[in-house]
Amino acid sequence: MDIDLITNILYATVRTGTPLILVALGEMVCEKSGVLNLGQEGMLLMGAVVGFMAAVTTGSLFVAVLLAIVAGILMSLLFGFLSITLVSNQVATGLALTIFGAGLSAFLGSSYVGVGITGIEPMSIPFLSEIPIIGKIFFQQDPLVYLSFILFGVVFWIFKSSRIGLQIRAVGENPEAANAMGINVHKVRYMAVIFGGAMTGLAGGYLSLAYTPLWAEGMSAGRGWIALALVVFASWKAERIMLGAYLFGAASIMHLVMQGLGFEVAPNLLAMLPYVATIAVLVLLSSNHMKTKLSAPMSLGTPYRPQV
């Protein structure tokens, strides 16, 4: 394999991993606060359809991205209201949100099928994009990819060294104790859920505005679920989510490239590669059972009822 080909593969890898990173980082924050939101797929589709509709009607891609984020936030508020305020079962509510989002997005988007738009184009960053190899791989992408780098930094910093990160973790580990310390559990959980919704809405916008600038029903094709699994396998660590998402992306691209190069492996086996490789690596990383157990939020999935 020549260096050009490898560069091209890695370039495509970053693009493929981006929607997974956005969804998984958002869900990680949400889960750290003790809330399990299985509605990612539905929120992703809502972000995609609203973003696309906005791009067609307003003609502004910037507005489109903003509205995709708003759509994700609105969906997450609905989830938050049901699961935090009304203390409903998080698993059931999340699944309902996925079904609801898939249906509503199909309904909203039905007259936008077959409409073409000019999507978000790649934008080279001056100087950085001229670094050999690295520049091509990371700095000739589209603006939303750069945004994913920044958001990774933000999430990483939140849990590494910020007060709010500690509060989120406290709420996710032991809400009663956090409450006793004077943390408003519901407020923190709402904020985490909304952050997750915004991230997933953004990822939806990435799909329908940048990755494949079109709207088709169910176009997320299960990426919300893959991101959910990624959070667990990455044992709630932002850097491992990043690694896992790119690994998954690289393996998906390899599945296609290897066929072109004439490797005689059944494509169905190659199609398994992303899943197998990602799970294998992340399981190896988290082979220390005790440590993994510590990183899982203790009260994940348990609704919090304030004591009266």
Binding site: L5, N8, A12, T16, P19, A106, G109, S110, V113, G114, V115, G116, G119, L207, Y211, T212, P213, L214, W215, A216, E217, G218, M219, A221, R223, S252, I253, H255, L256, V257, Q259, G260, G262, E264, A266, P267, N268, L270, A271
Partner: protein
């Protein structure tokens, strides 16, 4: 007085409806994807709407979309049958056994299964000779390529898909013996992002005309963005790339759905194994892009007319396989049975056929 008249009219009307109960059919459709996929399911739903337009209140249709192939399909089909549908179209290969199973329990309901090969007393099958349109689009691709590499994004190595690849390649090689067709399998019917990545991979390997046998328009869009040509499938995909889109191989299920619904209305339905193509208008090509030179357009349309008249067939010999061995002699042609079980590549396809 007026209200009395209305009442009488209403009564007479309802009486008429009662008497003509047999003149009203309920038709159900089971779709594998969403109706908004701009591909396979979309083409079926267009035909359903056409039947409603044509037959008005003589027909009542309902559909269930995104039904997974397997256990769930049987439940959905049984539900439709139990709800009093007279005719049920099940529009994906994987519905074959569920359809047969339900048909056994509802002997008075007629079933039509798309792309399958098993019939029974009240189950007929229908399919489109899409490969004829594939061949015509192959002629276009062969003429339009400059790099002599044509990319083909494919779903799963089953006979239907392989037949399309072979027909397309046959068209390509007929007008351009130096060109080859490169195939990339994505192992899914529908995932726009993955289809795009497959298209990009093919472009990296010098392909300058792309086509696909998957359900979204992502390949066309990628071609448009990269400034190369593409050929769509299932429905006219020109909206996704007016410059890139040369033509599409399209299905038009309207003739079949209308005829079958009418047959049930008139009580003349019989089980058949239908394989319609260009001749019956069930398979066609979308309008040709103006980027295609006039003489090429004329040639393609002449070939289409010849297919329609039956003077040529797509798989007329001589046909060689990839290793150069002659599989079909000059003067012979592949039978429908051969076509339905296609398991090898014709000469001109680059790459090895994976075992499915």
């Amino acid at each position: 007085m007026k209200s009395l008249k209305t009442l009488v009219t209403a009564l007479t009307l309802s009486a008429t409806v009662m008497a003509q109960a047999a003149d009203n059919v309920k038709v159900g459709f089971v779709y594998v994807g969403p109706t908004g996929d701009a591909g396979w399911t979309y083409s079926h739903d267009e035909a359903r709407k056409y039947v409603v337009d044509q037959l008005g209140d003589k027909v009542e249709t309902s559909y269930v979309e995104s039904v997974a192939e397997g256990a769930d399909a049987e439940r959905v089909i049984r539900n439709l049958a139990a709800k009093g549908h007279d005719l049920i179209f099940t529009t994906s290969f994987g519905y074959m056994n569920p359809t047969l199973k339900v048909a056994k329990r509802f002997p008075n309901v007629k079933f039509e299964h798309a792309t399958g090969y098993k019939q029974s007393k009240n189950v007929g099958t229908y399919m489109a000779r899409a490969y004829q349109a594939r061949y015509l689009t192959g002629l276009v691709a062969g003429k339009m390529t400059k790099s002599n590499v044509i990319g083909y994004v494919a779903s799963f190595p089953i006979p239907e898909v392989i037949r399309g690849i072979n027909a397309f390649t046959k068209g390509v090689r007929e007008v351009n013996p130096d060109a080859t067709v490169k195939v990339v399998w994505v192992s899914t019917w529908y995932d726009p992002a993955k289809e795009r990545e497959a298209a990009e991979t093919l472009i990296l390997q010098k392909a300058d005309v792309l086509t696909q046998h998957t359900d979204s328009a992502a390949v066309i869009q990628t071609a448009e963005a990269k400034g190369i040509y593409a050929i769509g499938y299932h429905s006219d995909m020109s909206a996704y790339g007016s410059t890139a889109h040369l033509t599409s191989a399209v299905h038009d299920w309207r003739p079949i759905y209308l005829a079958k619904t009418k047959a049930v209305l008139n009580d003349t339905w019989t089980k058949e194994d239908i394989w319609y193509g260009i001749k019956e208008g069930v398979t066609d090509i979308a309008p040709l892009n103006d980027a295609i030179p006039a003489d090429v357009k004329a040639m393609v349309l002449a070939k289409k007319a010849a297919l329609k008249a039956g003077t040529i067939r797509v798989f007329d010999g001589p046909i060689k396989d990839q290793s150069g061995v002659e599989k079909v002699a000059k003067g012979a042609s592949l039978s429908d049975g051969d076509l339905k079980g296609f398991g090898w590549y014709v000469e001109g396809v680059d790459g090895k056929l994976p075992k499915s």
